[in-house]
């Protein structure tokens, strides 16, 4: 269920808005179209659902040319989400979401079930929101409703035109997080237009960078960050592109399973523990129970001050841990807030898997930035 653009061209008079674009949007992936205004990203998107006519070239849905598909049928089979203004103010939330199913003449009973299902998917209580009007809910909620409406008829494809553009930054982050979670569950083939590079990096499986109607680069997000095609892409990514990359890299790819730990459960006295730490030239150590569960950490400084026969269990401090699928950005935030140069990595059952060190994160930054490591 991929979408293939072949020599796709759009000309307005003498202006070439899209110039011989060849790109394939992969099945079940979220592909980003990004570029400065006037780069043709929205034109490409609207050609995909025939809102804009094609001057030359072709679009193929699973190999079927768009010219062989009735535009109305095509649009009903593709989800379309635009900025919040797209909701109908005279219709309730229910009626808004039911738009396409009604056009497809679904039985009302099926529509009712589907609307409730979708409201739950986008984290809105059906009983509370079903009968409200768009003007009675917040901007962020309107946007969730817009996403639900786009998904109403369970389309294979979803086109999104800056759907979170009109939302304030804090709510936008939240919407993006929950949208990522939704996509993880529904696995649609999504084409997403944005001008916000952070949004692109955060959401995109692949990123297509357009400039003046031409495709500059189309790669997996990490590849775009690691190997920008040219200066234009570098500038688009910004000087902090290495930091942006940290949002993408998961802890599981960078942590060390070989780690030093002290046993918890009254097994060690302060004196013994201190000896072990000194032998390893460490200023602190994590404590692990016999079952491998993370217990906390002790500072060498605290052990020195304590009664030498005291059990280290009582001297241990609790510590924040991170899951393997957390991002390096979260890891570095934890390091800064706890003041520790490494963070314990645990699985869902709190069993310690390893540690992630500041050094490892920094190596990744250097790798992303492409700077040489001395």
């Amino acid at each position: 269920m991929s979408i293939e653009c072949i020599n796709l061209t759009k000309r307005y008079g003498n202006v070439l808005a899209v110039d011989k674009l060849n790109i394939t949007f992969d099945e079940h992936k979220l592909s980003i179209l990004i570029g400065p205004s006037g780069c043709g990203k929205t034109t490409v998107l609207t050609m995909l659902n025939h809102l804009t006519s094609i001057t030359d070239g072709d679009i193929r849905y699973d190999g079927v040319s768009i010219k062989d598909i009735d535009p109305i049928e095509l649009r009903r089979s593709i989800g379309y989400v635009i900025q919040e203004i797209g909701l109908f103010p005279h219709m309730t939330v229910y009626e808004n979401i039911a738009t396409v199913p009604r056009l497809l003449r679904w039985p009302e009973e099926k529509i009712r079930k589907r609307v409730d299902e979708l409201l739950e998917l986008v984290n809105l209580a059906p009983d509370q929101f079903r009968n409200k009007f768009p003007s009675e809910v917040s901007g962020g909620q309107r946007q969730r409703i817009g996403v639900a409406r786009g998904l109403a008829a369970d389309p294979e494809f979803l086109l999104m035109d800056e759907p979170f553009g009109a939302i304030d930054p804090i709510n936008r982050e939240r919407l993006q997080d929950s949208f990522l979670e939704i996509q993880r569950r529904i696995q649609k083939t999504i084409v997403f237009v944005t001008h916000d590079i952070r949004e692109a990096v955060k959401l995109g499986d692949k990123i297509a960078i357009l400039r003046q109607g031409r495709l500059i680069q189309y790669d997996e997000t990490l590849t775009v960050i690691n190997q920008p095609e040219n200066e234009f892409v570098e500038n688009l990514l910004g000087s902090d592109r290495a930091l942006k990359g940290l949002e993408l890299v998961r802890v599981r790819d960078s942590f060390d399973t070989n780690f030093f730990s002290l046993p918890a459960g009254n097994a060690l006295t302060a004196k013994k523990a201190l000896e072990q730490l000194r032998a390893e030239h460490r200023t602190f150590g994590f404590l692990k129970t016999q079952e491998g569960r993370l217990w906390g950490y002790v500072l060498a400084r605290d052990l020195e001050r304590a009664d030498s026969e005291h059990s280290i269990d009582d001297l241990a401090k609790s510590v924040e841990s991170i899951l393997p699928y957390g991002t390096l950005m979260e890891a570095i935030t934890l390091m800064v807030t706890t003041g520790l140069t490494s963070v314990p990595v645990v699985d869902d059952h709190d069993i310690m898997q390893g540690v992630i060190r500041f050094r490892d994160v920094f190596d990744k930054v250097a790798e992303l930035a492409g700077t040489a490591d001395e």
């Binding site: 609207t46 009903r76 379309y80 797209g86 103010p89 738009t99």
Partner: protein, 218 residues
């Protein structure tokens, strides 16, 4: 004046009903003509300017002159006097407010919303009936109220071409120099105008989608 009304209340009532009847025939015709024309010309900016211009010129014709013309034009159809010229005149005067308000309302619908509707696979007809028109109700109704109030006064003058109605009291009163008759006519016409406007406001409230009312209240 009151003694006159008490004396001849059956005549007052009969002429009032007559007047209401003429307006009642005319307004649906005005809606049936004005709204579709407004929707049709909304697709073409130049055509819209021409049509609104013509409707505007028609509206400036003094009603007496219009009735004079009507008597001549409709005479071959044996409809030169009585109710037909009155109805035609009201319809002609209503065209401007109906067409103009429909045009403005339909064009004022957020383009983003139309884009969303098209993108979801609505046909042009579905967009018109499910999105554009429901959103246009308040403005179109304002045009209709405008037309109705105009209709009340035009019908009054239509007495001169034999349409009868409340104009009877004013014109018969003038020729007989009976102030009480003139006053009765004037007062009843005035009340009718206000009442018609109010009634249509109620209708507007009934048919305006709830979502729009909530949006406007904010």
């Amino acid at each position: 004046m009151f003694s006159y009304i008490v004396e001849s209340w059956s005549t007052v009532l009969a002429q009032l009903l007559r007047q209401l009847g003429i307006i009642g025939i005319s307004l649906p015709i005005a809606v049936a003509l004005g709204v579709p024309i407004g929707v049709l010309v909304s697709h073409n900016r130049r055509l819209a300017r021409i049509v609104v211009g013509v409707a505007g010129v028609l509206m400036t014709i003094p009603s007496l002159a219009l009735f004079g013309l009507m008597v001549i034009i409709l005479a071959p159809f044996h409809a030169g006097i009585g109710i037909p010229p009155a109805v035609v005149a009201i319809v002609i005067y209503s065209l401007l407010p109906m067409i103009r308000n429909t045009l403005v309302a339909v064009q004022a619908v957020d383009p983003g919303m139309i884009k969303a509707a098209t993108g979801m696979g609505m046909t042009n007809g579905q967009i018109l009936f499910r999105v554009r028109l429901p959103l246009s109700v308040p403005v179109i109704m304002a045009g209709l109220r405008n037309a109705a109030v105009l209709g009340v006064s035009v019908t009054t003058i239509a007495y001169l071409v034999g349409a009868k109605g409340l104009g009877y009291f004013i014109f018969a009163g003038l020729s007989r120099t009976r102030l009480d008759m003139i006053l009765t006519g004037a007062v009843v016409v005035g009340i009718l105008g206000i009442a018609t406007n109010y009634l249509l406001l109620l209708v507007e409230d009934l048919i305006t989608p709830k979502g729009i009312k909530i949006t406007r209240a904010q």
